[in-house]
């Protein structure tokens, strides 16, 4: 049960931390690195509140251990806004009233970010299928879907980065 010294790289910043092997990635992100934007919901992979991007892939950060993320690029909701300006997707959530209590929002934002980065032409059907992996207890699914579809449509008229 020896603690380990690891370095987590979150949104480009390095956090040298000491963790027990049993420390989940989400607990390390929040409690050891102080990045509390990522939320903890069910802690067994069902709700998706803790979704982060791990080397670009949306994953449940409650279903892996912090020691496993060493050497990976972790991205969380704190990395989306730039200089106090909400990004495209966040703005779209505001405009489409895609959050009520907001608890699930960081997970949905990171899931949608991962989806749109992997395929900016993702179909409505595939979006619905992928977004169904996260839970919103306010049941605002329709507006979440509308917000992500609008963000995708806005991306489509922009030239590729």
């Amino acid at each position: 049960m020896n603690p380990r010294d690891i370095v987590l790289r979150i949104n480009g910043a390095e956090y040298p931390i000491r963790v027990q092997p049993r420390r989940t990635l989400v607990d390390a992100i929040r409690d050891d690195c102080g990045q509390t934007g990522t939320h903890i919901g069910c802690e067994h992979g069902v709700c998706g509140a803790c979704t982060v991007l791990l080397d670009g892939a949306p994953v449940r950060s409650c279903l892996m251990f912090a020691v496993q993320a060493e050497g990976c690029e972790v991205r969380t909701v704190e990395g989306l806004a730039c200089a106090g300006q909400l990004n495209h997707l966040q703005q779209s959530f505001v405009e489409h009233h895609a959050l009520q209590c907001g608890f699930c929002t960081p997970g949905f934002l990171m899931l949608a970010t991962g989806l749109l980065e992997q395929n900016r032409d993702i179909s409505n059907e595939d979006l619905l299928d992928a977004l169904s992996s996260n839970l919103c207890r306010c049941t605002g699914y329709k507006n979440i879907l509308a917000a992500v579809e609008a963000a995708r449509n806005a991306l489509a008229v922009e030239p590729s980065a």
């Binding site: 092997p21 067994h44 992979g45 791990l54 949306p58 409650c62 169904s132 992996s133």
Partner: protein, 287 residues
């Protein structure tokens, strides 16, 4: 909802992993691959392994290789690898259809094909694929290597022929001949939820008649299996809705649902009839 304490061992080679496993397996030491079943089980304290041997940083295990007669799937190949066909022909197409029924996208990003087999959940889609397509499952320990056919590997509900000091290193799936017809059907209560019943069927056509017919059913008994009774109905027949219906009836009769009550068992038989029939219908329509 926090996992209990364990010692963490990170292997860089398969040899290292089996050496570590040999030392800790008597103490409930386990292999950690994708962790999408093991970690939630640990969070709920259903599993409390005292040691985990992490195999995620072993590069040779993350490899999919196409050989002349089979596809080799390394122990750390994630479900998501199969979203697009990994090999030309019917097998790659089949896997890309089945994978969409496995949990949800973020789970598929971490969970592994071989991990599903090692876990041997009755409702696992990959276990049904392995049994129906006659996969060979390769295991290694410090005592050596061995391989088993899927039908010998799965012993029952979440139970396999693997010894505690063995790790599953790869699964070999035979390539399906060009022109193989197949169909997959799953019934679950919610998108991404566990299957209540599912069926994978395949056959080849020779002179208009079906041969090498396979009818696999999962999520109903302790482990997925092929139903010889349903296959016999179809072998050497011309595909038609009438014989598909007879095969579905034979499957519903042959299955022994693991539910305790008569009504539940009857319900499962009806589900089996439906998923087998729909899977067979998909063999002759575009899937």
């Amino acid at each position: 909802m926090k996992p209990s304490s364990f010692e963490y061992h990170e292997a860089r080679t398969v040899q290292q992993a089996v050496e570590m496993l040999a030392k800790v397996c008597a103490d409930d030491g386990r292999i950690l691959a994708g962790g999408q079943t093991l970690v939630p089980a640990m969070a709920m304290r259903l599993a409390r392994p005292s040691h985990l041997v992490d195999i995620n940083r072993i590069p040779e295990l993350a490899v999919l290789t196409v050989h002349s007669d089979h596809l080799s799937i390394g122990a750390c190949v994630r479900h998501a690898a199969f979203h697009e066909p990994v090999v030309d022909g019917p097998l790659g197409h089949l896997l890309s259809i089945v994978v969409r029924h496995i949990a949800h996208l973020p789970i598929r990003m971490r969970g592994t094909f071989c991990g599903s087999l090692a876990n041997a959940d009755a409702a696992s889609e990959w276990c049904l694929v392995a049994v129906t397509l006659n996969a060979h499952i390769h295991m290694r320990s410090i005592r050596g290597e061995r391989s088993l056919r899927a039908s010998e590997f799965f012993l029952g509900y979440m139970s396999t022929a693997m010894e505690p000091d063995e790790m599953l290193v790869a699964t070999h799936l035979p390539l399906l001949p060009e022109g193989t017809h197949f169909g997959f059907e799953e019934y679950s209560r919610r998108a991404g939820d566990f299957a209540q019943a599912m069926s994978l069927v395949s056959f080849e056509l020779r002179n208009g008649v079906m041969f090498d017919v396979r009818v696999g059913v999962g999520a109903v008994e302790g482990a997925a299996r092929r139903l010889a009774e349903a296959e016999a109905v179809l072998e050497s027949q011309i595909p038609c809705l009438e014989c598909f219906a007879r095969a579905a009836d034979a499957a519903a009769q042959a299955i022994e649902p693991s539910e305790p009550g008569d009504e539940e068992r009857q319900y499962k038989r009806e589900l089996v009839r439906t998923v087998v029939l729909r899977a067979l219908q998909k063999t002759i329509t575009a899937v």
